[in-house]
């Protein structure tokens, strides 16, 4: 039993806003849902599966009611920023089993207007809260150890931001459109060692949505056919503090699961959407997914290797979370959206990968240096 080729992404939408003080969070969810349904050529009456995550305030009850849906399959799996990549896999499972035929996945929020409520804690609370783990310093701790073990440098991390900025200059909706240099990144203020401001993603209001459906329905619609052929998910944490190793992510498990299901390898990928909450996130995930050997990520990302039309692995051609958009501090949705644009041939002409028929969308959710999830989706243009 596999989800390979069982589910198609028929509709996509990324909200153009990056600052939405005049809209409600539910309104943003509705706007992205409407956008994705219109992109697919479907309506809310067609939706029979709803997939949301922790950004949907109040959960499934208010969202289903507010959107006027009557789903026969629902899922609110919450794994932070990669929730939407996990949701894509879960939607494909539900579609493969006939539990739903038109699945809506939404993401929306307004962290730029007002900071989101802190995530509820688990058994670790008394033993960790006081120490102030945040995204910046938890990813910083992972970066620090990676530098120690493998000699990774700040210059190498900077190349990831440089590549993203080269792409963002062509995205009219990107929050940061200026092309930056390695020196610009190194001259930006230190936030949490060794990560500087330009190693960090943007904070934006906004959202995005996906419509996932059956082969039969996808073929009845007008969009180029893009289907999911492999999917993986995994979780990682300190697990009692034994043999702690922060130099790899849960992508070492989700990646191989997805590639094996798809029957392809990292080297087959024409385009890669790689979650870029921070530059170190990209570097470690590329290693973990097998685009290069562990410890060689720094060398791999250098000298423009991630710039479309320049390097060997075009990544995040929308400008990614580092420059374009990171709605509600969750980058998984936009990773899928740009991968689908590339596969459809709808990326910016300057950045469109020729004959892009295989792509990966991969993300991390939670804190890389503490507890996190990972999810990998392998997508194919039919």
């Amino acid at each position: 039993m596999s989800i390979k080729g069982k589910a198609y992404i028929a509709g996509i939408y990324e909200h153009p806003t990056r600052h939405a003080p005049d809209k409600s969070v539910w309104q943003l969810h509705a706007e992205v849902a409407k956008g994705a349904l219109e992109d697919a050529g479907l309506t809310n009456k067609d939706v029979d599966g709803l997939f949301i995550a922790g950004d949907a305030n109040g959960g499934l009850w208010p969202m289903t009611d507010y959107l006027g849906l009557k789903p026969r399959h629902v899922d609110s799996t919450e794994t932070g920023g990669c929730s939407y990549i996990i949701a894509l896999g879960h939607a494909a499972q539900a579609i493969a089993l006939g539990k739903c035929s038109v699945a809506l996945i939404t993401l929306a929020g307004k962290p730029r207007t007002s900071p989101p409520a802190p995530r509820a804690q688990g058994a670790e609370a008394d033993f960790e809260t006081a120490f102030g783990a945040t995204t910046h310093n938890a990813y910083g701790m992972a970066a620090m150890r990676h530098m120690h073990d493998y000699g990774t440098t700040s210059e190498q991390l900077a190349w990831i931001k440089v590549a993203a900025s080269h792409h963002a200059q062509y995205n009219p909706h990107a929050m940061l459109k200026d092309v930056v240099t390695v020196e610009d990144v190194l001259n930006s203020p230190m936030i949490s060692d060794p990560l500087r401001r330009m190693d960090c993603c943007v904070v934006t209001d906004g959202g995005g949505a996906l419509i996932v459906t059956t082969e039969e329905i996808a073929k009845s619609l007008k969009k180029p056919l893009v289907r999911l052929i492999g999917h993986g998910e995994a979780m990682k944490g300190p697990r009692g503090g034994k043999d702690l190793d922060l130099t790899y992510s849960a992508g070492v498990w989700s990646g191989p699961r997805a590639f094996e299901e798809a029957g392809v390898t990292p080297q087959d990928m024409k385009y890669a959407s790689i979650y870029d909450s921070f530059t170190i996130t990209v570097l470690m995930q590329l290693e973990d997914l097998g685009f290069c050997k562990k410890g060689e990520g720094g060398k791999f990302v250098s000298d423009g290797n991630l710039i479309s039309g320049v390097g060997k692995l075009p990544f995040n051609t929308d400008g990614g979370g580092l420059c374009s958009n990171h709605p509600i501090n969750r980058g998984g949705m936009t990773k899928i959206l740009e991968a689908v644009r590339q596969l459809r041939g709808e990326a910016h002409p300057k950045l469109q990968v020729p004959n892009c028929d295989l792509a990966i969308a991969h993300g991390t959710g939670g804190l890389l240096g503490v507890r996190h999830a990972a999810s990998t989706a392998i997508l194919e243009r039919v």
């Binding site: 701790m141 120690h148 060692d193 697990r239 702690l244 922060l246």
Partner: protein
Amino acid sequence: MTEAKKYPTPQGNPETQPFWDAAKDGKFLIMRCTTCGDAHFFPRSICPFCFSDKTEWEESSGEGEIYTYSHMRKSATGPYVIAYVTLKEGPSVQTNIVDCDPTTVKIGQKVKVVWKPTDGAPLPFFTPA
């Protein structure tokens, strides 16, 4: 300054209360499984490695070395250094490195536990040994 910070009071629960009771006496407890022999932290009654319920409290030396760290340059409560310290007994624990110049902190540095007060039981921080 780190010293002036107000830290949250540990709430405790039936499973972890012995840790906080010992903390009041300046003892840093970890949990060891007598089935697989491995120690873990934070403490759980069922071993996270072999799932045995034969776990016992053990007093740690409170000594270890820094596995990794990050110097958070700004926050609402001022700068601080978050870190993982690998205890001599094995487990790595999340903490802050305190009572030192943050710019001198290094991976591999030897550190020892230092307790900081709350309105209840104190909390385990680490400082250069």
